[in-house]
Symmetry: C2
Subunit: 249 residues, 2 copies
């Protein structure tokens, strides 16, 4: 198989390939966290690096797939991937059926497309809100405009959502399902990372802490007493970054 | 109520007192982590500090109880407390009934007295091993000798088990139930803290990481393929200590 990803999808595909006894080539950005690069290689995958500012990672992956006969496993713009990622909301709603609000980070939109579809199917009353970093606001702008908008490569600390445009397949689903989109600053994201570690004893990477950041920063019109479900979508934070966040106050 | 504790029991009693609408006075050592002192005060308790090298905390707590009419809630040497702490093993064995090995840290011995009683009752095949820091080896030495041994106040980083002797009520239970005792160094404990954060994405305090440290350091005769249950008994690590552990390699 071949895949392109900033990190967590890369690890998932690498591990899945090993489990079924095949090999994986993963295209990852040169500025992906070292922890994610190491982990992907640790699962036995070959990593091909690309420049996030210049290269078209999807084109590189398609070329490798074409040349080697490998199957391309896209990170978000694929209905099977969306369905798989949506099982996070399925598990959450099984545990808490009467959720008032469901929040998830939005990068390419695969996680939120799957999760919002599950929420719409199982719980009509649940507000579903996607959250992005304020410099990676491609889906926020697209949602407001009603069509896909492209932004420059964003500099956010949240490496999992450094996308420039929503997916062609995911965006129509988000547009249909989402109650709203919200934005948070990198500072708010890192504050949520710190509070998750100190108060909830969970190590969560910046991208995964985005939805909680929106709650803690008061960016959402959530009535007191609401049951709020927050999907913490990854824990692969560089130890040095986590260390600096922990000593930041 | 009144209680004495290095930290986690303190927080539990403080929160419980608030929930039932009463007040709590907690005796805590002057060198308890600030996080634990702040959290205990944050739950509304009054904190009375004592010197771990000189003072008899139990005598202080009994005096306060006598003077104020408060009920003393001891941290480990009490059958109700042991039973409550043993519910950790109850939940673990409900999830994994065929556990080969059960590990927990041993300070005063309340957690392990409760957990080992549960294991003995539900799963005859499960080896139950208590783990201490090598400088806080009062229960290790007592277990070897068959009677309670007293050591000087230990300097271990694991602030939750800085006890000088096993409990009068807990030790006979440990002596009866435990398969063995094991020891780990502070360095091995901090390595387990680091690996829990980086690989398992869990923030665990030194005391809570002691049992996993014994596994990772190869201190236990565990056959390959065994199902090993490890009780991670607390997450209240000072952020600065966690930061230094994360940047230690």
């Amino acid at each position: 198989v071949v895949a392109f990803s900033s990190g967590n999808h890369a690890q998932g595909v690498a591990l899945a390939a090993r489990l079924v006894g095949t090999s994986a080539v993963i295209c990852m950005p040169t500025d992906a966290p070292r922890l994610k690069l190491d982990a992907t290689r640790g699962y036995g995958a070959e990593v091909v690096l690309y420049d996030r500012q210049k290269d078209d990672r999807e084109a590189i992956a398609r070329r490798i797939a074409g040349e080697s006969g490998r199957v391309l496993v896209p990170p978000f713009d694929d209905y099977a991937i969306m369905a798989g990622q949506g099982t996070a909301a399925l598990e959450l709603l099984e545990d808490v059926p009467d959720l008032d609000v469901l929040l998830a980070p939005v990068g390419g939109g695969g996680l939120m497309a799957g999760c919002s579809t599950v929420a719409r199917a199982l719980s009509a009353k649940t507000m579903v809100i996607g959250v992005e970093a304020d410099t990676a606001n491609d889906t926020y702008l697209s949602f407001r405009k009603g069509e896909r908008v492209t932004i420059p490569p964003p500099p956010t600390i949240a490496d999992g959502i450094r996308l420039t445009t929503p997916g062609a397949l995911t965006f129509p689903i988000l547009k249909e399902n989402l109650t709203d989109m919200a934005l948070v600053s990198d500072e708010e994201i890192l504050d949520a990372v710190r509070r998750l570690a100190v108060e909830a004893h969970l190590v969560v990477e910046p991208t995964g802490a985005i939805p909680l950041a929106a709650v803690l920063a008061g960016r959402l019109p959530i009535p007191p007493g609401s049951k709020v479900g927050v999907i913490l979508s990854g824990g692969n934070i560089d130890p040095a970054l986590l260390a600096s966040v922990l000593t930041s106050r």
